[in-house]
């Protein structure tokens, strides 16, 4: 009885203390609670009905900046009757796509407001140049996405927040909402396999499997607000954002000149676009013959490059195996590893220089790889000879050991006989 009374009394005193604690727990951060949850204000009426919107909005970054429901939707937040709350000259209610662009850009195109957050103000200008913007703003095509289609209407998060729709690993999914809709894309004559192809490509593997955020997503090549497929003459420059040396080599060669005169679709001619196919050394000549006649000088040059690339690949692997053999044999491999790294650098330069089709440069680089590979293998052969010599040294050791054993054995037998 006394225990029950104690329990009740404790409950009476602790219950009021628990309520704010619960609120804090809901908001995760006690300091952020009062600043973010403006809806704690009992006179703010919007959240009385729109509870789901309130919850979504509180997760986004706009709630942290003191923006409230009526700042975007208008109306009277002090009125608790729907009729009075949803009236007045400033009430706009749910915004359509056009109105959304205007509303968002009213702040995001204003340098005075964006300066404090370090955000750019050119989104609207970029959007106007994009295919999406052209369709919506000029053709009033409401299939085209507006700001909230990608960034969400209420849970708006910065692109480096992993929960954001535009986070590097989420952006493809966001684009896929429309670009994998066969019915919608059919209206514009577009395919729907881009996202899957990208996911399986070298870029997709780097991004999704290795979590390498340097790997490009949809927006890296097409732009985000200014989303457009790159023009034929721009493709090499788009790829060259990351593949700087390849771009330089490409423009130095005949293919680069062909791409500038629109005769060749840049990098995609050999590597495809979303699939970014890696051409293995033994597939170079076959790739060349997709455009060039098999007995043409260009195809023969391709064959020469293929043979060179295949040979250097084999030599590089042989050097790697020689280093492993040296390490297994208990030899120090720091020096040969350094030499091997030089060979790897030259090998990577071959991959880049192949785009210039400059056979002299390629020959020089492959000679470097061959020379280093030969040195490394020679070091391994010397080590193998030493091992053989060590093995030979064991012959006198075992001869002496066995001779001593035999002599001792005879002596022991003689001693045993004596004892008997």
């Amino acid at each position: 009885m006394i225990a029950a009374a104690r329990f009740v009394i404790c409950g009476i005193f602790l219950a009021p203390a628990a309520l704010p604690l619960q609120a804090v727990a809901l908001l995760q951060s006690p300091v952020a609670a009062q600043q973010r949850d403006f809806t704690i204000d009992p006179d703010y009426s919007c959240v009385t009905c729109h509870t789901e919107k309130r919850r979504a909005f509180l997760l986004g970054t706009h709630s942290e900046r003191g923006i409230r429901c009526h700042d975007c939707h208008g109306g009277d937040p002090r009125a608790f009757e729907q009729a009075t709350a949803h009236t007045g000259p400033e009430y706009v209610g749910p915004l359509d796509k056009m109105a959304t662009v205007q509303l968002c850009s009213s702040c995001h195109s204003d340098p005075d407001q964006m300066r404090q957050y370090g955000l750019p103000v050119g989104e609207l200008a970029e959007y106007r140049t994009s295919r999406h913007g052209q369709l919506l703003l000029e053709q009033r095509d409401y299939n085209a996405p507006t700001c909230t289609d990608c960034h969400d209407a209420h849970t708006i998060l910065p692109p480096n927040d992993a929960r954001s729709n535009v986070y590097p690993t989420n952006i493809a999914h966001t684009c896929a909402r429309c670009h994998e809709d066969a019915a919608m894309m059919g209206e514009y004559g577009l395919g729907t396999d881009q996202i899957e192809t990208h996911r399986a490509s070298a870029h997709g593997v780097a991004l999704y499997q290795r979590q390498d955020f340097a790997a490009p997503t949809c927006v890296s090549c097409h732009g985000s607000h200014a989303a457009l497929p790159p023009a034929v003459t721009q493709i090499a420059d788009v790829c060259g954002h990351c593949h700087v040396l390849v771009r330089r080599a490409f423009y130095a060669g005949p293919h680069g000149r062909a791409a500038q005169s629109r005769d060749l679709p840049g990098c995609t001619a050999c590597h495809s676009n979303h699939g970014t196919e890696r051409i293995q050394p033994n597939r170079i000549a076959a790739t060349c013959t997709e455009c060039h006649e098999a007995d043409s000088p260009a195809a023969l040059a391709g064959l020469e490059i293929q043979e060179d690339a295949t040979r250097t690949t084999v030599e590089l692997h042989a050097a790697e195996e020689a280093i492993q053999a040296l390490a297994r044999a208990g030899r120090t491999v720091a020096d040969v590893k350094l030499r091997y790294q030089t060979a790897v650098t030259a090998y990577n330069q071959i991959s880049q220089a192949q785009h210039s089709l400059d056979l002299e440069v390629l020959e020089d680089l492959s000679r470097q790889v061959s020379s280093i590979s030969r040195d490394v293998r020679a070091a391994e052969e010397v080590a193998a000879e030493h091992r053989w010599e060590h093995g030979l040294a064991l012959i006198p050791i075992w001869f002496l050991a066995l001779s001593a054993t035999v002599l001792a054995w005879f002596k022991l037998r003689a001693l045993r006989r004596e004892r008997r």
């Binding site: 952020a32 927040d161 992993a162 390490a327 297994r328 050791i397 050991a401 001792a408 001693l415």
Partner: protein, 420 residues
């Protein structure tokens, strides 16, 4: 017929031998006389000669045979470890910066340094085999029973010392395999009851670091040698005092036997020569591979073990976890204290089924664990590899968590607090 033909042929050989003897004897005699001049006064005050003759002439029971040479092999390998260890310590430097380069120097620059190092590594392996074989003989023949129970416990303490020698020596190369194997074993042991305190004291830091290397080196070259020599002294004194145990079913009889020299000494010589030849062969043909330098931020891609006990320990840790490791240790402790409980003088194996089962469980378990450990070739990609505190400070690159926005939550909270 053949004798008459051979005699003239061998006459020239006999003549050469006689000439050699005639010319060598005076020289050898001169050396002996000089040594006699020096040794004479010493022998008059210290009767070393007499003591040596007495020791060599000590009679051993006639049943003492080849199987009693196992202890001698262990001692021989211990002395090989001492000699090679001293030679290695001339060049080895126990610091994080210098440990790995000094091993590289020993292996590549010091004349026959590779041989000294590999003899040390292989002797450390063979001594475990020799101890296990010696221990198995004593265990199954029941010679650990009174009055030799103290020597059994001393022998097991010597086993512990040898294991500690190997455990502390394993880290000294300071390569990736040594570093991460030590990390894994220490982390597991630190979670075991009682042993955890020793592990944390030996580690000396939240991760395996320079502090651990210093401690391991000090234990390896200062503490353990003293302990080993003290225990060896007790072990040999007790063997000498109590004599060799009679075969099961016979009574102690020390009245007759065969002199130690030359009978048992010749047997020990034969076994010793063969063991040394095997150790040289293994060192020359199967050197310890050279790993990459220790890197606390990166797990090795493969695991190469070079000590039997490490294979056994890793097999216990990976397949049975900390409790399996503890239970196996408990089994070893049970064997150590067995003479306290097993007071029955019966030594015939057929009449000791419980002890037979216990022994088979231990020795067969050790063999199975070793074979299982040989199959382990990779490190566990497991965040449990290190304690929480250590993981926060030293997270391997592959396991590093993604930090959204590149800033800590504390900084964000601070910014919000500053807002009006």
């Amino acid at each position: 017929m053949s004798e008459t033909k051979d005699k003239p042929r061998l006459r020239w050989l006999a003549q050469i031998w006689a000439d050699l003897k005639a010319s060598t004897d005076p020289a050898l005699l001169a050396v002996a006389r000089f040594l006699g001049l020096v040794y004479g006064p010493i022998d008059r005050t210290l009767p070393i000669d007499q003591a040596a003759r007495k020791a060599l002439g000590r009679r051993l029971p006639s049943h003492a045979g080849w199987r009693h040479a196992l202890g001698g092999i262990t001692y021989l390998l211990f002395m090989v470890l001492v000699v090679t260890g001293v030679l290695l310590s001339f060049y080895y430097r126990p610091s994080v910066q210098e440990a790995y380069p000094s091993i590289q120097y020993i292996v590549s620059e010091v004349p026959l340094g590779w041989l000294v190092r590999d003899l040390h590594v292989w002797s450390a392996n063979l001594i475990v085999v020799a101890i296990m074989a010696h221990m198995a003989r004593v265990f199954f023949s029941g010679t650990y029973k009174p009055p030799r129970e103290t020597n059994w416990v001393v022998g097991l303490l010597l086993l512990l010392v040898v294991l500690a020698f190997g455990g502390t020596g394993y880290l000294l190369p300071w390569d990736q395999w040594a570093y991460w194997t030590t990390t894994e074993v220490l982390d597991t042991v630190s979670r075991a009851p009682l042993l955890g305190i020793i592990a944390s004291v030996l580690q000396g830091d939240v991760v395996v670091s320079g502090a651990t290397l210093s401690r391991f080196f000090a234990v390896h070259v200062i503490l353990l040698p003293w302990a080993a020599f003290a225990l060896l002294l007790i072990h040999f004194t007790l063997v000498r005092k109590q004599g060799i145990a009679p075969p099961p079913g016979r009574l102690e009889d020390r009245s007759e036997g065969v002199p130690f020299f030359p009978n048992h000494l010749l047997r020990s010589f034969v076994v010793g020569v063969l063991v040394l030849a095997v150790t040289f062969s293994l060192a020359a043909l199967y050197p310890r591979p050279v790993g990459d330098p220790a890197n606390p931020f990166e797990l090795p891609t493969e695991l190469v073990s070079s000590w039997i006990v490490v294979d056994v320990s890793l097999a216990l840790i990976r397949y049975l976890g900390v409790w399996g490791f503890s239970l196996f240790t408990l089994l070893g402790i049970t064997m150590a204290v067995l003479p306290l409980f097993d007071r029955n003088p019966e030594r015939r194996l057929r009449r000791r089924p419980v002890v037979l089962a216990l022994g088979l469980l231990f020795f067969a378990g050790y063999l199975v664990a070793w074979l299982a450990g040989r199959q382990l070739e990779s490190m566990p990609l497991d965040t449990e590899l290190r304690s929480g505190e250590a993981a926060e400070r030293f997270v391997p690159q592959e396991l590093e968590p993604q930090t959204p926005e590149g800033g800590s939550s504390a900084e964000d909270t601070g910014e919000e607090e500053d807002q009006p």
